[in-house]
């Protein structure tokens, strides 16, 4: 029996979801390492990045194979191109999680900084965004994707707030400037991770609705905003 494009797409989905799971895990661990000052866990994340890099290449090749050999149209075409973009987003997210882990490794060695509650909140939010973004891809759920995108504003707000606190703290404790800079680095990486999660959400909306909503999310939101998921 001749394999169908559906089989190829299913294999692709499976692989992307596997990669998504690994990214999620890397993020989870890097944040745990950061919050619980766990050096060993941080190391694990840094070492695990190679697997994700390899997966990125495999998925890209597979996408190109499907494009070249199957010549998908309509939604299938959008799906494959969407996966191509999400693939590189995921790889970047894994790198960012690795960066957070590197900062966590350093921060585990210095006395604790006082921002734990807010860092915990922001970590939970970004984890949730990444999970929702991947869930929206898995279920091709445009509404969930839109909610993911919306959550980014909250992530940005938390980030700015934390930076404000950090600056304040550095003024009061200039001797800990170096330590705080590492934390700020980790937070910036976290904030960028949230941005990549919104990229995934935008690509999911493109796949599902066939519209490029990147940079036009607000108009899109006005349309779907009132619709609650059934």
């Amino acid at each position: 029996m001749k394999p169908l494009i559906e089989d190829d797409l299913a294999a692709l989905t499976r692989q992307v979801m596997h990669m998504g799971g690994l990214v999620e895990q890397a993020l989870d661990r890097s944040l745990k390492a950061l919050l619980e000052r766990d050096r060993a866990l941080a190391r694990e994340v840094i070492d695990g990045d190679a697997v994700i890099d390899r997966l990125e290449n495999e998925i890209e090749e597979r996408c190109l194979d499907v494009l070249a050999l199957r010549q998908p149209v309509a939604r299938d075409l959008r799906y494959v191109t969407g996966i191509l973009k999400i693939d590189s987003d995921l790889e970047r997210m894994a790198d960012l999680a690795g960066n957070i882990a590197e900062r966590a490794e350093i921060l585990a060695e210095v006395p604790p900084l006082p921002f734990r509650p807010d860092v915990t909140r922001m970590a939970a939010l970004v984890k949730r965004m990444v999970r929702d973004g991947l869930d929206s891809l898995q279920r091709l759920d445009a509404q969930l994707a839109f909610r993911t995108w919306q959550a980014d504003q909250e992530a940005d707000r938390l980030y700015r707030e934390l930076i404000g606190q950090a600056i304040q703290f550095m003024r009061e404790h200039p001797e800990r400037l170096g330590d705080v800079m590492h934390l700020v680095g980790a937070l910036r990486n976290l904030e960028r991770l949230a941005d990549h999660a919104t990229n995934i959400a935008e690509d999911v909306i493109f796949v599902v609705q066939g519209r490029i909503v990147r940079h036009h999310m607000r108009e899109f939101g006005a349309e779907v905003g009132g619709v609650r998921p059934g």
């Binding site: 299913a10 596997h18 799971g21």
Partner: protein, 606 residues
């Protein structure tokens, strides 16, 4: 049930029967008609010919003279007319040259008859017959001509003729009655066919209906044996089949129900998957442990809803392996945490081969929640490490002090200082050992608690009074809100309860920075007494909350020890509360403070 089905069948059966009947009837009627017509025609023609012969023969003698005269003879004419009327025939006398001399019906002259076939034959000396439409009367007519001889010579002929219309009339009548009989026979045949078909079809129709109901799953249906032997046998066979089927389906259903009940009731998650990682079976526990809203239906791929890299990796390893031989179950076991719920799962994956039409490969995944077990393991090993560590710290200090004291060159001031250090650490060592003993005795229930009526308010006040100095020294405001009336509201061990409250208050003071406030409240609820200790201290992170009552657990290593805690205070609080049939809860917001609540059963006022 399709409804039209049996009726169409009935129609077909009756139609077929009727068609056969009709064919038979038509053949018979046609044969009778043909045979009858031939017979009637032959008989009638014979009869007519005989009458013609008689009449012609009678006429020969009389016409001899008329022919011999060869002139008009009125008497003969009259005679001929009378004879014709009597015999109801047309009689004609014709001369040998074909001239008609007399005719019983038509007045003369009549056209020459020499060319008529029967006349030609008669004039030739032979009797002649013919059937044709008469040119005179226009009717179909049978003619018979006989020669008239005189002295051996043909001098003319006589001809008798009769119209055949009578015969045609008789035949038409015969045909009409045959058609009528045929139609009646057809009607009877239709009726008979219908009746027969109904009689044959109704048991069949009934059986078809029952079989259809059986096919739709109503296996309790049975067919009443009716009709001829054959259909009765068929009905019995159908019933036997239905009974067997019912038996089998019921046993399958029971087996499946049992299996589902067993799987559904298991605390462990079970997922069976085929080689394409599609779910064959998933129980509710598996869905819960994997963080899914509900178990996946059979046939849906696991990777469509789940992202669990460790599970996927191991699953793929199991599925990719060549067929494991029987007796060598190649199980992969590992611990992993799925995204989201933070539980630790012990997972084992075993290859599966499913016997069916063709053997399929798959895997069965067993999941069990070992979060608690793993935490207990961790606690146990932490405890040993902690006890050793906690005991070693004061011991090291004592040994160091003793070493210095053993040196002869030590002056008195130093000596005093190190004796004090050794004494302080020995006291701390004693405090730790005492707490440990208290804990183990509370845990082992070896020490039967004194059960005396006492007042929680009083115990709380006593505890607060004992710590007032420490609080003041640290600059923490310590407040007690408890009713003055010291009514005995619980049954318990006074010193233990005081220890419990002291530990709570000490803990609160310890983790509240200078300028903060610790509030202790006691109040009576309906059937409980509640003691709340609230502080405005640094608080406890959410992840540490469930662990603060563990022995030697510290939210942050290094925090607390230098302030003199044994690391066992809260563990003691918990065990004292439990020993009194109560419980302790904690709520905290990091950076804002913590609230510890002890609830003890209220003494019933006897």
């Amino acid at each position: 049930m399709t409804g039209a089905g049996p009726i169409v069948n009935l129609d077909r059966l009756s139609l077929r029967l009727f068609a056969s009947f009709a064919g038979l009837i038509l053949v018979i009627v046609a044969a009778v008609a043909l045979w009858g017509e031939i017979r009637v025609r032959r008989f009638y023609a014979h009869e007519v010919e005989r009458r013609l012969e008689v009449a012609a023969a009678l006429l020969i003698e009389r016409s001899e003279s008329a022919l011999a005269h060869a002139g008009p003879d009125p008497a003969f004419d009259a005679h001929l007319g009378q004879l014709g009327r009597l015999t109801r025939l047309r009689l004609t006398v014709i001369r040998d040259d074909g001239v008609v001399l007399a005719d019983s019906e038509s007045p003369l002259p009549i056209a020459n008859h020499a060319d008529r076939p029967e006349v030609r034959l008669a004039l030739g000396g032979q009797p002649g017959t013919d059937q044709r439409r008469s040119s005179t009367t226009g009717q179909r007519t049978h003619y018979l001509a006989l020669p008239v001889r005189s002295a051996g010579r043909v001098i003319g002929c006589v001809r008798a003729s009769a119209p055949l219309d009578d015969m045609e009339g008789a035949l038409a009548e015969l045909r009409t009655s045959l058609v009528l009989v045929g139609a009646l026979a057809l009607g009877a045949g239709l009726l008979l066919a219908g009746l027969l078909a109904r009689r044959l079809a109704s048991p069949l129709e009934n059986m078809a209906r029952e079989a259809e109901a059986l096919g739709e799953g109503d296996l309790a249906r049975r067919v009443a044996p009716r009709g001829p032997v054959e259909t009765r046998a068929l009905a019995r066979a159908l019933n036997t089949m239905a009974a067997r089927l019912q038996q089998r389906v019921e046993s399958e259903r029971t087996a499946r129900g049992e299996l589902e009940a067993i799987l559904g009731g298991m605390a462990e998650g079970v997922v069976a998957l085929d080689a394409a990682e599609q779910v064959l079976l998933m129980n509710a526990a598996a869905a819960r442990l994997l963080g899914l809203e509900e178990p996946l239906a059979a046939g849906s791929p696991l990777w469509r809803v789940l992202r669990f890299p460790e599970l996927e990796r191991e699953l793929r390893a199991v599925l990719a392996r060549p067929e494991a031989g029987p007796g060598t179950p190649d199980v992969r076991s590992f611990d992993a945490t799925p995204q989201g719920n933070g539980r630790t799962l012990a997972i084992s994956i075993a290859p599966l081969s499913i016997e069916g039409l063709e053997t399929r490969r798959g895997a069965v995944v067993l999941l069990s929640d070992v979060t608690t077990t793993r935490r207990l393991d961790q606690m146990r090993s932490d405890f040993v490490a902690n006890v050793s560590h906690e005991l070693r710290t004061p011991l090291t200090a004592i040994m160091g002090a003793l070493e210095i004291l053993a040196e002869p060159s030590t002056d008195e001031a130093t000596e005093a200082r190190f004796v004090e250090i050794a004494a302080r650490n020995a006291a701390r060592l004693k405090a730790i050992v005492n707490d440990l003993l208290d804990l183990s005795s509370l845990e082992a229930q070896s020490e039967s608690l004194a059960r005396a009526p006492l007042s929680t308010s009083a115990a709380l006040r006593n505890a607060a009074a004992a710590l007032a100095g420490a609080a003041q020294k640290k600059g923490v405001q310590l407040e007690v809100e408890a009713p003055r009336s010291s009514r005995a509201d619980v049954l318990g061990d006074e010193s233990r309860l005081e220890q419990c409250f002291t530990n709570l208050l000490a803990n609160a003071i310890q983790y509240t920075p200078a300028g903060g406030r610790v509030t202790a409240r006691a109040r009576s609820l309906e059937d409980e007494v509640e003691v709340v200790v609230e502080d405005t201290g640094i608080g406890i992170p959410a992840t540490a909350l469930p662990r603060v009552f563990e022995r030697f657990y510290r939210v942050d290593r290094g925090r607390g020890r230098d302030t003199g805690g044994t690391g066992l205070g809260l563990a003691l609080v918990k065990h004292i509360a439990l020993a009194h049939g109560g419980r302790v809860d904690v709520a905290s917001e990091e950076g804002h403070g913590s609230v510890f609540t002890v609830r003890l059963p209220r003494r019933s006022e006897a």
